[in-house]
Amino acid sequence: MLDLSKFNSLGEALRSALDTWPGEICLIEADRDRENARLTYRQFKELALPLARALIDAGFRPGSRAAILMTNQSKWLISAYAIFHGGGILVPLDYKLTPAEQLQLLAHSRAEFLIVEYHLWRAITQSPEFKKLAARIVLVTEAPAKADLAGAQRWESFSDAASGSPPPAIVPRRREDPACIVYSSGTGGRPKGCVLTHENYLEQCIALTALYPFWPGVRYFSILPTNHAIDFMVGFFGPFVCGAAVVHLRTLRPEFIREAFPRYRITYMTLVPAVLKSLERGLRQRFDELPKSKRRMLDALIAANRSLTRRRPRPKISRLLLPQVHKAFGGALLALFVGGAFTEPSTLQFFYDLGIPVGNGYGCTEAGTTITLNDFKPFRADTVGKPLPGLQVRIAQPGPDGIGEVAVRGKTVMSHYLDDPEMTAETIVDGWLLTGDLGRFDSSGHLQLFGRKKNMIVTEEGKNIYPEDIENTFDGIAVKEYCVFAANFLWPARTMVGEHLVLVLHPEPGQSISPELIADVAARNRRLLNYKRVSSYLAWDRDFPLTASMKIKRGELAGQIRQALAREAVVPL
């Protein structure tokens, strides 16, 4: 791989990669069983440099902000490279948000440029808030020939005017300059725009590749959204600076994911617990369908593999012992990685016993993504691993049981939250990032997580949901006041599973919780995306404690509720 200590910016490092491995494949893009694109590093450069030229000709300047709103595909990475080449700041936006939310974050980021897929752009232009869009130049990919682009330009032809011009020189950046603004939450009104610097990414990449190197020939299967900092790192920057290839699949249907493993001989892949679980279910079902004698044979081979890989993974032996299983995964898979939410140890053990090690990790965008990761020396199913090299992790204010808040310090920790010094000061204290997660180190230096201190939930699909982000859905319901809490924030529980949200309703004096009110609440709840919904409500009969500026003192209210009511008081919605 490239020696990243020699580079000051993502653009410089990526540019060097394009020149170092011109003939290697860097990108494969498939849709179901069709291959859309297969690019070498040279071809990637030939597409990206004219785009950089055209952006600069259109007024793109060092420090200009450009948002990308796309599903995982080759044009995402080509556009990102062009932005970095021009010295810009990338704002990767979540394509799963609603158009109104996307417009809100676009406004907050003050992105002048927007690069967006046609179907997402169409939804944005149909949104009532569309008129608020401030981006000066919008490039739309894959628009049908006769589509009305509402003033936007076609990505595919934008570079044409610049095709005869010489490629622009790369714009130098300092390590401490912002590279990306990544939103970790805040669609409900207080956006958390994590400003991640070039140094954050370069150092994170050095640390991750020390544990899990890439090299030319490696195929990384990128299915987590590239707008998340983790896929940006392991599904773009990391593979590229090592001359490896990224495989994109434009559908997340489980059957096509399964088919992609053998078709593209995948080496590594990162996924969320829900997808890992789905793979486990599929395999268990196939095992259960085997005739008894074959099943007994399989169980014996799995037991033999478990015994032979106790100290470390031995992929060659595992492939010999369990050829059918490994054939289904393409025969070249070295490891899967999982993070973003809690993964059951039994699932991790299931795969490890088959000779498919799953590296369980933990992190957050504010820390430059990964904080801890398992290294299989030996395999552990019950922890989220050890801190990455170069990162300091400690437990702040531990209780008698050793459990306290996980705090992180190091070169991968973000610079600040965009335009929010107050929240930055609450989150990064004396150089330590306070994660809001509760954990404890065991005697071998592995971190174990036990729940959350902060008022939020994480779904098994790795979605972080903050109550403040969904509360405005209930604006106008017929009560005196209301508030949304994570159930485990109201009643602290030492668990990472079964997290859900509770709506606390305080009716007007003399008013009751009527069926009409609950019907209204349920109807509004349905307007939220399914994973953001509140699961239950709680009736409360006292005034909420408020600040001088009439904001709810959430911590104090939670304390009052905790004292007065038990978890059983909630009513399912």
Binding site: T98, L120, R250, T251, R253, A274, E460, R526, L529
Partner: protein, 80 residues
């Protein structure tokens, strides 16, 4: 020409078969995530079943933000 009502009815029947629940328990306006207790991955599974039945191809994004059977039927109907 299949009407939207017929398409909706077929979707409800296929969903009932796929997730093994009584057909009568499902209504067009139902939130299928909640009613069937499924996550978005399992919903993608259903989409595959519907594609086979209607002989169409539905990109994943067609399901984005859709959580009730009727809207799903509209998305499918527009591609028939």
């Amino acid at each position: 020409m299949t009407t939207l009502d017929k398409t909706t009815e077929q979707i409800l029947q296929l969903a009932a078969d796929h997730f093994q629940v009584p057909r009568a328990s499902l209504q067009p306006g139902d939130d299928f995530f909640k009613k069937l207790g499924i996550n978005s991955l399992q919903a993608l599974d259903l989409l595959t079943r519907l594609e086979q039945h209607f002989r169409i191809e539905l990109p994943d994004y067609e399901l984005q933000g859709v959580s009730d059977f009727r809207t799903l039927a509209e998305r499918i109907q527009s591609r028939l």
